[in-house]
Amino acid sequence: MANEGQAKTGVYRNALLAGLWKENPTFRVLIGMCPPLAVTTAVKPALTMGLSVIFVLVCSNIVVSMMRNLLKPHLRIIMFTLTIAAFVTICDLFLRAYTPAMSEILGAYVPLIIVNCIIIFRAEACASKSSVVVSMLDAIGMGGGFTIALCILAGIREVLASGRLAGIEVMPSGYVPCLAMQMPVGAFVTLGLLLGLANVLTRKKGA
């Protein structure tokens, strides 16, 4: 009994922690790369995007996990898409009602969460095979890892592009903003360097 309990806790811990680093969707698995490139000009929109993805991921994982025994194999993708689309639409409506400014900055990228790979990937790889609790923890872990990655990218870009972090001045007054960081090229360069860093870190661990 004790062993079983321990095994269960282990499964839960793994589900929760895998997304943060070992299977981090942005830095390790490299899926759902559109938001990291598109909405990381500043920390606030990046955080909003991350939280929206967590909300959609948790909801869709729970629903998919609940209906996993009813799913017909050839109809599963359409079921996933339907579930995700419903929650993304709800999320979009909430953003537009309660944070209109953020909703304007994020623009089309909120509805585009529907086609974010991470969510359909977790529905397929985890929620359609695991219990509701494991699916929920997995969603929180994966969403958390994604949000942290977005915020790191956005933090670096915002500081270099405007000298501000989340709207607060952090750089000395003589700092000359690097406008390129605010444009797509800044996103690609920053992401590339961070991916390189992630590779260096994991290689050292492995050796």
Partner: protein, 223 residues
């Protein structure tokens, strides 16, 4: 094959169809209801947010305004290439119900995507009171600077409908010459074109409808 056999076959097909897709049908209905309920609950607030923003922007352009009243008539603004847009013009009323100006939404193509401007003019459509950018997706750091005060201030008090873009000159002088933003000629020009087009066409339609006096306004701003 008898008719009866055929019927059984059809029933089997239907049964198979429902067996395979009942989950899809049921959950579509549930999700549809969920989305509809959320929309019903929030659409009022979303509409109010939009109206608030428009009001805030217009108020920052036209001071001493008590209220905005939409003008009853419809205005059409041609956007080129055979397209046109319906525009609602708002009459801005001051403390004693006199007309202090007009405001409307003007749209057009920028360097990347549409630019939506809130435009305010004085009572006889003679002078611009300025514009605010409602929505745009111009390049940050370049075209994006159409939102900056130093560019926008050139429009405050400029003659309506006859603006010209120049590449050099004093940006602090208010006249029909608008100095372009360095590195963002297309965006600067887009704003001038949008303002000229919409102002000219709306002014004409306003005069036709008798909402503003034609000759007086013209001679006033003659030179």
């Amino acid at each position: 094959m008898s008719l009866w056999q055929k019927k059984v076959l059809d029933m089997d097909k239907l049964k198979h169809f429902i067996e395979q897709s009942w989950l899809l049908i049921v959950s579509s209905l549930c999700f549809g209801l969920l989305v509809a309920a959320t929309d019903a609950g929030l659409s009022g607030k979303i509409e109010k947010n939009k109206a608030d923003k428009l009001n805030r922007l217009t108020l920052s352009l036209l001071r001493e305004v008590k209220d905005f009243v939409p003008v009853d008539a419809q205005f059409e603004v041609g956007l080129g290439r055979g397209k046109s847009d319906k525009v609602t013009v708002y009459r801005a009323v001051g403390q004693t119900q006199e007309c202090v100006g007009w405001s409307f939404l003007a749209v057009g193509d920028g360097f990347s995507g549409r630019i939506e401007l809130v435009v305010a003019v004085d009572a006889d459509f003679g002078k611009l009171m300025g514009f605010e950018v409602l929505a745009s997706s111009e390049t940050p750091g370049f075209g994006d600077r159409i939102k900056d005060d130093y560019y926008r201030n050139q429009f405050k008090g400029a003659p309506a409908g006859e603006l010209k873009l120049v590449s050099a000159g004093g940006a602090d002088k208010v006249d029909s010459e608008i100095v372009a933003i360095t590195g963002a000629t297309i965006s600067s020009e887009a704003v001038v074109v949008i303002l000229n087009d919409s102002l000219g066409q709306i002014k004409e339609q306003m005069q036709k409808k008798g909402l503003i006096q034609a000759t007086k306004a013209q001679s006033h701003e003659g030179e």
